[in-house]
Symmetry: C2
Subunit: 127 residues, 2 copies
């Protein structure tokens, strides 16, 4: 069988810490990013998350008709980890990531694209 | 900085199709799997998902205090794709995966472990 899904892992560095700690800003940015990508939102869930070293980031996921977009932020490291799982065409992951990079004022991005079903790992890209 | 999180991608093949199509069974199995791993459930969301080739799998995510566990199933391919993102110790991902493999009667497993923050890719394992 050909690949069933596409799973993009993204990491943003050098973000504005206060933005990554703001639950409502993260939630709103994630929902706008999903809309920008053309995906269809089913439901979402976001909460504050206490990291081991005392930070208070945000964790959350948007369940979309085409799969999911999840985020975990570490304001104390100015860092956000994202994963965007999509099935089928018609979802512009790049648009979603660009929206989030702008929302968090990210300076760097690392990206890894995987195929799912069966699992295949692409090249790690930085920019 | 050392790694902030651990992201395990798992794929199960040869599952029992009727189990992968059963929204309540998938939801209950995911919640039991999270509990078995020792993680703390914050909230969860599951729904039926229509795939391009007419299948009706289940998509869902459990947001845990330690990050998330997400699933997408394709009963028509007897296939399930999972990802388990954890931060900090104390979460036994293997226990969660073993619980789900048993619940879906999976015959095969592929596993990829990644470090997040910064992103590093491990070896793809099959069994």
């Amino acid at each position: 069988m050909t690949s069933l899904g596409r799973h993009i892992l993204a990491e943003f560095g050098g973000c504005e810490a206060s933005r990554l700690a703001d639950l409502e800003l993260v939630r709103a940015s994630m929902l706008e990013a999903v809309r920008a990508s053309g995906a269809t939102i089913i439901t979402h869930s976001f909460h504050h998350f206490a990291s081991q070293d005392g930070g208070a980031g945000v964790s959350g996921a948007v369940i979309i008709a085409e799969s999911h977009l999840a985020i975990h932020t570490w304001p104390e490291h100015r860092f956000a980890a994202l994963d965007f799982f999509t099935c089928g065409g018609g979802v512009d992951v790049r648009k979603a990531l660009d929206h989030l990079k702008a929302a968090f004022h990210a300076e760097t991005e690392e990206l890894l694209e995987l195929e799912r079903g069966p699992l295949r790992v692409g090249e790690l890209e930085s920019r």
